[in-house]
Symmetry: C2
Amino acid sequence: MQIDINLKDISRNYKVYIDELKELKIDTKVAIITNSKVGGLHLDSLLAVLKCKEKFIITLPDGEEYKNLKSIEEVLEQLFVSRLDRSSVIIAFGGGVISDMAGFVASIYQRGIRFINIPTTLLAQVDASVGGKTGVNNKFGKNLIGSFYQPSAVYCESKFLQTLPKREFAAGVAEAIKMAVMFDKEMFEWLEGANLEEKTNLQQLIYKSVFLKAKAVEADEREKGVRAVLNYGHTFAHVIENETGYKRFLHGEAVAIGINMANSLAVKLGLLTDLDRDRIKNLLIKFNLPVEYKIADLDVFYDAFFLDKKSENSKIKFILPNGIGGYEIRQDISKDIVMQVLSEFK
Amino acid sequence: MQIDINLKDISRNYKVYIDELKELKIDTKVAIITNSKVGGLHLDSLLAVLKCKEKFIITLPDGEEYKNLKSIEEVLEQLFVSRLDRSSVIIAFGGGVISDMAGFVASIYQRGIRFINIPTTLLAQVDASVGGKTGVNNKFGKNLIGSFYQPSAVYCESKFLQTLPKREFAAGVAEAIKMAVMFDKEMFEWLEGANLEEKTNLQQLIYKSVFLKAKAVEADEREKGVRAVLNYGHTFAHVIENETGYKRFLHGEAVAIGINMANSLAVKLGLLTDLDRDRIKNLLIKFNLPVEYKIADLDVFYDAFFLDKKSENSKIKFILPNGIGGYEIRQDISKDIVMQVLSEFK
């Protein structure tokens, strides 16, 4: 299966392949950027299909805490020592942390070299694989330094997901549910009945998610409009992640809780029925995702919305479902109403 | 006067204005990135026309030796402390070093914010103002880390050139001569008679140069084809700059020598007459540019061609004039012929 990603500058178009990685021929030097864990589990399988002129393996420690400029500098150093040139190719082989960093490195090495993304987590396959967002964290927040840079190709292989811990798998499903609620009622209903342990269903999940994400990205490459809809659940999730020091929840888990919170706000505003809110909640629960969170201090939680870089000019942008399969972007919601909703999570 | 820069992705189109900076209204926060020298000479004049919500001045020490990732990190830190958001604007106010760094920062701050370039040297106005090349140096070479990132607008003001040292002015003229030889015989002939101390002539020089550069960039934004022609003289210049530790010659001066060397090669290959080589040489001399260089060791000089990142797969790419106003890109020239030409500069 494959999905075409069509961008404004057609010279940057590319394809996302699902379970199509039989042979990868590259006529130049290649640097594979991976982490020690993914490398140990799956590097043999990648090396078995990769045919290239000369290859270098660069491993980073596994973990979000290494997603910073220091790691970027270390990778750049290794690329220069290996004398990669402007025709060389970088392969990202890992989860979202690796693809964000490898993509960023590819975008700034000699002003940009080709970059192939092979995401090995469900979250990275359904979400980070399309869109061209790259970057690292710093002490001021997450993904605050980076670029928009499109890969030359993306290979999503379902076999790499077999070694994924259950919680990480579920975290990926959360982002897929997010897209179904926003854009695609049929997909939502399919998810309600689907057993994702079956390979064809898993392939379908990846396909449908990538397809929806692609449509949003194509319409709005630089996140000035519709692409913001992909932040459904994230406005709340970022505060939860911040409050819990990015330790208690995986990103997708925080998004699941955030979706449930956004839904309560949508119900309060009359955009969503109680029934649909519960239906979404039940789907999240079906895939072992958390939906509840005990807010310690409502005021602290509310104020934390404004630390998010996506809140321009101090208005909170809420992405809300307008029924299942539809959305509204609202920036006019009073503090009073938001506080009422937050108090449901006390 | 203004020149439209039309790119493949039309949403990134912008204009270069020449002597049109009467008022600059920006409805958001602005960070002006400049160096201590330019700031001291001209910042008052910029601040007098800038109307914005809130402004921050960030100064870097003057000099190529500060064009590195460490400076980039320091600027990023100041932007985060000043809480610039995704709607904010960066203004580059200085020569090529400042615009390369400010553009790079703008391209990676929160994945890219708007960037207005106000170049204050002739070199930066006629050359770096168009093209979207940003970047910094590292121990492996010049401009090896960076991005392609287009400004939102460029303002070239001839008045800022009044304080420019004579050598720096001449260095800018070298890049203009480069473009005339490659693309525009009429401009070349105009330059032969022009007195650049007259303001209208200076404006014409900027206009013609920006216009030619714009055409090359529009045709080939990412330097995969015709844009390489802008490296006329640079293949030799980079080696000269390297050999002399970037201290003896300004970049434009090294380019002037490089143009003269490339011309000798073009004569040897029958692309250029002796007469035209001398005519170009005389034009360089008219503008107080160096044209001679004593190569200490021919073999060392030749081998240094291969350290240049633009030499992919170990073939040297020579950009040569095919008469005045025409060019050829040659990658097939034997070492023997090149050595014969180099020996003319012994």
